[in-house]
Amino acid sequence: MSTVTDKSATQPAGEQADVVLSVRNLFTSFRTDQGEVNAVSNVSFDLKRGEFVGLVGESGCGKSVTSKSIMRLLPEFVTVYGAESQILLTGENLLRYSERQMRDVRGNRIAMIFQEPMTALNPVFTIGWQLDEALKYHTNLNRRQRRDRVIELLDMVEIPNPDRRYDEYPHQLSGGMRQRVVIAMALACEPEILIADEPTTALDVTIQAQILKLMKDLQERTGTAILLITHDLGVVAQTCERVVVMYAGQVVESASVTDLFHDPAHPYSKALLESIPRSGQKQKGRRLATIPGIVPSLFDMPPACRFAERCPLRQDKCDQVLPEITDHAGRSVRCHFPVNQNSERR
Amino acid sequence: MSEGSTESRSLRKFLRHKPAMISSVVIAVYLVVAAAVILGDLVTVADCDRRYGPRTTPGFGATQEAEKRLQDIVWYAEQIEQKLELREKLRRRSMARGEVPADADIEQELRGLRIGNLRPADVSADELQDRLDGLWDTVAGLDEFDDLNEASAAGGEQAATISRLLQTAHRQMQSLYADQSFGESFRRDLHLLFGTDVAGRSVFLRSIYSIRVAVLVGVVTGLISVTIGSLLGLAAGYFGGWVDGLVTWLYSTFASIPNIVLLMVLAYMFRGGEVDRWLNDRTGDGFRSLIGGSLDETLIPVFVAFSATFWIGPCRVIRGETLKLREMEYVQAAQVMGYSRLRILLRHVLPNISHLLLINFSLLFIGAIKSEVILSFLGIGVKNGASWGLMIDAARDEVLVGFFWQIGAATALMFGLVLAFNILSDALQDILDPKHV
C-alpha cells in the first residue's frame, strides 16, 4: 500500500476512511527580502487513525515548517502555500480555512507540543488554570466538571498528587513534569492528531524514556494519531510505526520503521543511519560513515535531485531530472536509483 | 550564504533600506547647515536679534490684507524718515556750533541704515526727502478710507482705488531704497522666507541658528553620555562584584531623581555665576578664556545637566549586554587562551556592543534635542541667539493673534530632525543587530 502518493495517484475509498490527516503536495514558501524562498516542496504523506509516524530529517530539512503548515502557525503575511497544496483533515482542506475556523481545529482536533516545555507554559498562571482555560475554550463543561477533568488529565500523564499540582506554577515543576503538563494540555480536548515537535530533545535520556513511554501509552489508550518530528533516529526506532524521511524540503523516503532501518532505499536514509554511533557493539574508534558536503541552500536548490551532489550513487540522470516519488518494494522513494535492498543488507 | 564581511553586509542592508537612506540624507543636510553655522558663521547671534522687516510678516511672501500692507509700507518709510530726521538734527547741531555741516559724513550716516541687506537709495538726502514726501501724500490719500480691509473687500470702484493707491505707495516706498542685484534680492527673500516675528526678526535665520544649537546639544551630550554610560556599563557588566554594585547604585540614584528637576537645578546652579567665579578664582580667569565667556553664556550648563542624567540609559543597556556577552563561549574561550581582561574587553566584548553604542547615541541625540526645547521654553535653557525652544516660547503671544509662522517653522524643523533620527535609529537597530544577519 502506498502511503505517500503522487498527486495523480488515487486511493481506494476503504483505505481513505482510515486516514485522519492527509498532506497533499504541500508547498510552503516565504516572502523574504531576497524574494520567495521555498522551504517545503511537494510534501505528501498520510496519517492514519491511531498511527505513530515519525517525521525525521536534519535541521533545515523542512520538518518543522511542515508541522507548522499543518497547524497554520506560520506568519500569514509572509507565508505562501502552493495553489495545489492540500492539508486534508478528514477530507476538509485546512489551507482553505479562515483563521477563525483554524482556531477550532487547533487544540481541539489537532494539538501540538513543542521542544521547550518551559516556553510552552505561561509562567504567571497555575497549571490548573492553564489546563482549565483550554477546556473552557473548547468544551461546554461547567467549572466543577472542568476541575475534575483537569485532575483526571494530570493523573493520566502520571503526575503525582494531581490535586496539589493543580495550584502550582510552571517554575515549581521540573522539565520532565512540565513536558507532562504540556502533553496533558494537548490531550485535554481529545484531539484526533497530536503533533510532537522534538518533544524530548531538551530532556535528559532518563526523562526522555519516561516521556516516550507516556506518549506511547496514551496513544494506545486514546487512539490519537501521533506525528513525531525528530532528528533522533533512536527515538524513531524506539517508538514509531512508520517513518517519513525529509531532506532539503522534500520527502525522500517513506516506509515502515523496520523496512527503513533494515533496508533503507534512499541513499540519504542509508547514509543517515550509518552515521550514528551504535551502542553496545564494541565499535570503539571505528570511523563513522559520513555524508560529504552540506545541505544545499534554500536560495540555491538544485533543479534535479537535491541529494545528488552528496550521493555516492550519483549518475548523470540525477543531475538532470528531478526524481518523482515512486513505490519501490513496499515503500515510497524519491530516487532514480534506489539502493538495492538485498545486496545492502546489514 | 553570502560573501563579504559583517560591515559590508550591514552597509548593503543600509543602502537597501529606503527610509534609512532618506532619513540619513535629511540628517546630513541638518548637519551641514549646523557645521556651516558653527564653523563658517553662516548665521550669527547678532543676525538672530536684528530687525529684518516690519513685525509679523507672513512667510513665502503671502498676500496680506490692505491694512497690513499699508502698515508695512509706512514702516519702511518711517525707517528712512527717522534717519533723515537724525540727519537734520546733526546738521542743526553742527550749524549751532558754527561749523559748516559736513554733508558727506551725514550721507554716510544715512547709508549706515540697514534693514537686512536693504540700503537707502543712492541719492542725495534732499532727493530722498522729496520721494518720502510723495509717499506721505499717497498715504494721506489712503487715510481717507476708514477701514481699508472692509473697503477693499467690498469691491467696486473703491477697492480699485485702494489697490491703485497701495501699488503707488509700494512703488514710492521701493524708490526710497537702493535697487538690489539678483543675489541681494534672493538673500532678502530668504531672510523673509518664513516671515518675521513680533519684533521684526527673521524667523528663517533664527530657525537656522537653532539647528546649530540643536545639533551641538545633541552631539555633545550624546557623545558624553554614551561614553560615560558605556564605560560604566562595560565595567559593571564585565567585572561584576563591587564595581557592579557601585554602578548600579549610581544609576539607580540618578534615575530616582526626576529628570527635569535635576536639569533645572543644574541649570540654575550655573545661572547664578557662582560656579564661574569659583573656577575663575582658582584658574586666574583661565576658565573664562578657555570657554570664551561665562558658563551662563555658553551651552555648557545644558551639556552638563543633560549628560549627568542621560548616561543612565546606555549604561543600563550596555551593562545588561555585557553581562550576557561575558557568559558567551567565545569570551570564555578567550579566557582559556589566557588573554588579559582588558584585551577581552576591548577585542571581544566591545566590538559586539558597538551597534548598541550607535543606537543609543541616536536615541540620546533625539532626547537631548527634545529636552533642550522644553528647557528653553521654560526659560532655563539656551539664553543667547535662538533655539527652537526659545522660538516656541516667543511665539506664545503671536499664536494668540493668529500668527503661526514662528512656532510653525520651529516645530517643523525640529520635527524633521527628530523624525529622521527616529527612523534612522529604528533602521540601525534592524541593520546592526548581529542576530539579524
Binding site: E58, S59, S174, G176, M177, D204, V205, T206, I207, Q208, A209, Q210, L212, K213, H231, L233, G234, V235, A237, Q238, T239, C240, V257, T258, F261, H262, L272, S275, I276, P277, R278, S279, K282, Q283, K284, G285, R286, R287, L288, A289, T290, I291, I294 | M1, S2, E3, S5, T6, E329, Y330, Q332, A333, V336, M337, G338, R347, H348, P351, N352, P434
Partner: protein
C-alpha cells in the same frame, strides 16, 4: 602518577537572595570528584544535565575557580596558580566548547581569531603566521578561503571545525571537549567525531570528552566516568560498559537509551522520579532517592568510589559491600517497567 590528576575537586556556587543579597544557599555543582587521565587516553565524562560535568571541565581548566581540591597537570599543581603562572599551562591544555554559534566572536574572521591566538602565545615566528593559519585550517579540513570569512558565513559543522582549529593553534597536549557534537546534526556529528579521532591520532592528544550521549562516548572514548549530582558514581572501560556496569544509575542510563534498531525494540527502562536539587543533595548516596536497591545505610553514608575488578570503580554500598542477607547485589537486569 597519571598525566592529569584531579583530587577531591569541589565547586559550590553561592546562591544570593533576600533584600541584602546574602548567600542563602550553595549549589553543589561538583562535590568531591577525583579522577586520573593517562597520557594519550580519552576519558569520557557522562551524565545528565546538572550533574556537574561541564563545571568539572571548566574548573579543571580554571575557567571557573574551584572551591577546593587540586588538579595536577603532568605532576605540577595548577590550582591556586596566578594568571601569569598559569600561562605556560594555557598552551598545553585547551577547551572545545559546545555551542558552535556562541563560541566564535561574530566580529572576527577566522584568520583574525587564529592570528590573535598565535601571536598572543607566539607559537610561530611572526612571518610564519599566515602559513600556520593555513596549515591549521587544512588540519581541520577547512578550505583556505575560509580565512577571511566571518562566523555567520559558516555552517554549524564548519564553526565547530574552527573551534577545534583554535584549540589546536597553541599545540596543546590535553583537550577538554565539552559536548562538542551535541548541537550538531547527526551527519555533521559523525564528521566532527571522525575529525577528532584523526586529530587524536595525529597529535597524540589526551582528551577529556564531556557528553550526555552514551552512544557517542562509547564510540569515542577509552574509559568513561559516570557522574550523578556532582559526584562520580562509576568509572569503567567503554568496552565493558554493557556487560559489566554495576552502578544502578549507569544501568538505568544504558537501558533508557532508545534502541538502534526497531527489531530490538523493548520497553525502555523507566527510572522513576527526578534528579534532586543540587542545592540540597541527599546526605548519603546522591542516587538514593531513585535507587531500586537502596538500603538504610545508603540514606546516611555516602559510598566511596571503590575499585571493583579490573579497571572499574563503583560508588555503591550494595555493590561494593554486599550485605550477607542480600544474594544478588546488582539489580535484576531484566527488570523493566
Amino acid at each position: 602518577m597519571a598525566f592529569i590528576e584531579v583530587d577531591n575537586l569541589v565547586k559550590h556556587f553561592p546562591v544570593h537572595g533576600g533584600v541584602l543579597n546574602r548567600v542563602v544557599a550553595h549549589v553543589q555543582a561538583v562535590n568531591g570528584v577525583s579522577l586520573q587521565i593517562e597520557k594519550g587516553e580519552t576519558l569520557g565524562i557522562i551524565g545528565e544535565s546538572g550533574c556537574g560535568k561541564s563545571t568539572l571541565g571548566k574548573a579543571m581548566i580554571r575557567l571557573i575557580e574551584p572551591t577546593s581540591g587540586t588538579v595536577r597537570y603532568d605532576g605540577k599543581m595548577t590550582t591556586g596558580l596566578s594568571h601569569s603562572a598559569l600561562m605556560p599551562f594555557r598552551r598545553r591544555m585547551q577547551f572545545i566548547f559546545q555551542d558552535p554559534y556562541s563560541s566564535l566572536n561574530p566580529r572576527m574572521t577566522a584568520a583574525q581569531m587564529l592570528a590573535e591566538v598565535i601571536r598572543f602565545h607566539d607559537i610561530v615566528p611572526k612571518s610564519g603566521t599566515d602559513a600556520y593559519i593555513e596549515e591549521l585550517l587544512d588540519t581541520v579540513r577547512l578550505r583556505k578561503d575560509a580565512k577571511n570569512r566571518y562566523p555567520h558565513e559558516f555552517s554549524g559543522g564548519q564553526r565547530q571545525r574552527l573551534n577545534i582549529a583554535r584549540a589546536l593553534a597553541v599545540k596543546p597536549e590535553f583537550i577538554i571537549a565539552d559536548e562538542p557534537v551535541s548541537a550538531l546534526d547527526v551527519s555533521v556529528q559523525a564528521q566532527i567525531l571522525n575529525l577528532l579521532m584523526d586529530l587524536r591520532e595525529q597529535f597524540g592528544l589526551t582528551i577529556m570528552f564531556i557528553s550526555h550521549d552514551l552512544k557517542v562516548v562509547e564510540h569515542f572514548c577509552d574509559r568513561m566516568v559516570v557522574m550523578y549530582l556532582g559526584t562520580v558514581v562509576e568509572r569503567i572501560s567503554c568496552d565493558d560498559v554493557y556487560t559489566n556496569a554495576k552502578h544502578p544509575y549507569t544501568q538505568a542510563l544504558l537501558r533508557s537509551n532508545p534502541v538502534n534498531d526497531p527489531s530490538e525494540r523493548h520497553e525502555l527502562y523507566i527510572l522513576e522520579g527526578e534528579v534532586p536539587s543540587p542545592r540540597n543533595p541527599p546526605t548519603g548516596c546522591p542516587f538514593v532517592t531513585r535507587c531500586e536497591i537502596a538500603e538504610p545505610r545508603c540514606q546516611t553514608d555516602r559510598p566511596p568510589l571503590e575499585p571493583l575488578g579490573d579497571d572499574q570503580h563503583v560508588a555503591c554500598w550494595p555493590v561494593t559491600h554486599p550485605e550477607p542477607a542480600v544474594q544478588s547485589a546488582a539489580p535484576d537486569t531484566t527488570d523493566c517497567v
